[in-house]
């Protein structure tokens, strides 16, 4: 049951071979047993989850089930869910009970899915290792001394360790794709504007995008069918026709043109990652694809541009946390300004404060043109590189992360080194394109540990998610990297 696809679970539920209550209890028992060591979840509410499961069983018994009815899904703790503690990984929101549902949560509720719990994450989604969470580090299930990636590290860990059927994540600079790569699972960040940001706690609004994380491309397609859709409450939500993301899964890949950006293969990638990526490209050639050399000359500017835009937007978004209407308030203060300053100083962690400081600086008087405006202009150059490239190819491929999962604490004191671990993913957010990561092998084994997972990144053109899922699914029919499980799971 734990290795079944969402399609298989749905069939078993609809055929009444298993009930949603039994399936939900199975996962709750696994969480109780494994979460103390892995720390993938911040909050579970067994009674609430089981009540949803009973409601799903009633729908199933009445023949009113949809594809995901009764299936337990883990929700990243960035999505407000009514009555659920929603922390965003921060002390600031440690006791925040959300008074309403995010659009994503509503969509899963309407689909009859079960909310299994809220997954751990870097504080306010700022981090690439899950080490900035106020609720402790998540462990990588393939090696508990290694990071799971971030910021959706709890979600990636929960999927890899079979602590949920599938999970949601969010991706501002790589936060779905990088942890998916490091934990050996699949994840897709859709085209910006595809999934509503309503009720998703904001980090950098022009880059934030939610998407699914799961064990296969086929599972991601079913999740996308639930998550995507126009929502007037998000002013950047796109009025795009509803589509079936699973419609092209079974198309053959003959004639597919894969673009390989020379900049992604030039330097910086570790040799074991390079080897796995090369093998994946060779597999695609066997499946009928042709390779096209392309160039993304401005992609090298992604990291500096991102570290102007994302902190600028974050400093603005996070100004709402002032200790007045909700969230943490310092126990002692002298006046209003002191209350703001102490509440924010005590409620936010070091990385969040660092980014608020960067953002405040670049937006301050006299610096706007040199930083924010210049970054927005280079952002267009980065996006134009992709537009040029898609004249010659259908999808772009490369590594998701320059290395396999690094050790806990390894990049702790050097923010710049940590920022560079997202070097291949950030350009995709800046351009607003869809990107995904799928498992494509394992890195070199070391110190008695088995090799750690390597992720292949697939970048598509705008609204081309169905094709990307097809490209990933065909590879997953021909290989079994995605179905491997960590030892002891």
């Amino acid at each position: 049951m734990l290795n079944s696809s969402l399609q298989q679970l749905g069939s078993a539920l609809r055929a009444r071979k298993i009930s949603s209550v039994e399936l939900t209890q199975l996962y709750l028992d696994r969480i109780a047993a494994l979460n103390p060591a892995l720390n993938a979840y911040i909050t579970t509410k067994a009674e609430t989850s089981l009540a949803q499961a009973r409601a799903a069983d009633a729908l199933l018994a009445g023949g009113k089930a949809q594809a995901l009815t009764g299936i337990p899904i883990a929700q990243k703790d960035i999505f407000c869910a009514k009555g659920w503690r929603t922390t965003c990984g921060s002390k600031m929101l440690e006791n925040f009970i959300a008074p309403y549902d995010a659009h994503v949560i509503e969509q899963f509720n309407n689909a009859g899915a079960v909310n299994l719990g809220k997954t751990n994450m870097d504080e306010f989604a700022m981090g690439s290792s899950n080490e900035t969470s106020h609720f402790g580090t998540v462990k990588n299930p393939w090696d508990r001394n290694a990071v799971p990636g971030g910021s959706s590290g709890g979600a990636a860990c929960a999927v890899a360790a079979r602590l949920c059927a599938a999970a949601t994540g969010t991706d501002t600079g790589g936060s779905i794709r990088q942890p998916a790569a490091l934990c050996g699972i699949s994840g897709i960040k859709p085209t910006y504007g595809t999934v509503s940001r309503y009720g998703m706690i904001a980090f950098a609004s022009s880059l934030d995008q939610a998407g699914p994380m799961g064990r296969s491309a086929e599972d991601l397609a079913l999740m996308m069918n639930v998550m995507a859709g126009f929502d007037e409450r998000d002013s950047t939500s796109l009025q795009h026709d509803k589509e079936d993301y699973a419609r092209d899964l079974n198309k053959p890949l003959s004639g597919l043109r894969i673009g390989l950006p020379k900049e992604f293969f030039a330097e910086g990638m570790s040799s074991d990652v390079a080897k796995a990526i090369e093998a994946a490209i060779a597999e695609y050639k066997k499946l009928g694809a042709t390779i096209v050399d392309i160039s993304l000359p401005n992609s090298k500017l992604s990291v500096p541009v991102y570290y102007v835009l994302a902190p600028a937007e974050a400093s603005s978004n996070l100004s709402r946390f002032d200790g007045v209407r909700y969230g943490y308030r310092a126990p002692e203060y002298t006046d209003l300004a002191d209350m703001y300053e102490k509440s924010r100083a005590q409620g936010f962690g070091a990385e969040v404060k660092r980014r608020i400081m960067i953002g405040t600086y670049v937006l301050s008087h006299g610096y706007y043109d040199a930083y924010y405006l210049q970054a927005q202009k280079i952002r267009r150059l980065i996006a134009q590189d992709f537009t040029e490239a898609y004249k010659k190819c259908d999808v772009i491929m490369g590594p998701t992360s320059p290395s396999t999962a690094f050790k806990l604490g390894e990049k702790g004191d050097d923010p710049v080194q940590m920022y560079l671990s997202d070097i291949y993913t950030i350009a995709v957010n800046l351009a607003g394109l869809p990107g995904m990561s799928i498992p494509c092998g394992f890195g070199a084994a070391s110190n008695g540990n088995p090799g750690m997972p390597v992720g292949l990144q697939i970048i598509g053109n705008y609204f081309d998610e169905a094709r990307m899922l097809n490209v990933a699914h065909q590879y997953q029919l021909a290989t079994d990297w995605h179905s491997r499980a960590p030892q002891g799971i």
Binding site: F96, I97, P99, Y100, Y192, G193, S206, E232, S235, T236, L238, N298, L301, P304, V305, Y307, V308, S319, D322, V324, R325, Y326, G327, Y328, R329, T334, D335, L336, D338, M339, E341, K342, R344, A345, F348, K353, R354, I356, M357, I358, T360, Y361, Y371, L373, Q374, A375, Q376, K377, I378, R379, R380, L381, A383, D414, P415, V416, Y419, A431, G432, Y462
Partner: protein, 95 residues
């Protein structure tokens, strides 16, 4: 780029973040490193390039000017740090 402690202090004040002397010193070193990384973009010629804020270059949607929110005062006040008689309490600002 080298920031001074006074620069950091000013930014912390603008961001409403209380910081000790030691925190300012360590923030100065880390922020300087990050601004060195950011400095790479200063050399790029962007003359004539329009800034990009949304990938699809969509324009802002308008909606009817009608009330869409329901009154959830009690639910919202339940999660506030300090309320009294339906009001949010903060330290006195007007003498």
């Amino acid at each position: 780029m080298s920031l001074t402690n006074a620069d950091v202090q000013k930014v912390a004040r603008l961001a409403r973040l209380a910081m000790s002397e030691a925190e300012i010193e360590s923030a100065r070193a880390q922020l300087s490193g990050i601004f060195d990384l950011i400095a790479e973009m200063q050399a790029v010629d962007t003359k004539g390039i329009a800034p990009m804020s949304h990938a699809q270059d969509v324009s802002q949607r308008l909606r009817e000017d009608v009330v869409t929110e329901t009154n959830q005062r009690e639910a919202f006040q339940e999660i506030a740090p300090q309320v009294e008689a339906g009001l949010y309490l903060v330290p006195q600002v007007i003498e």
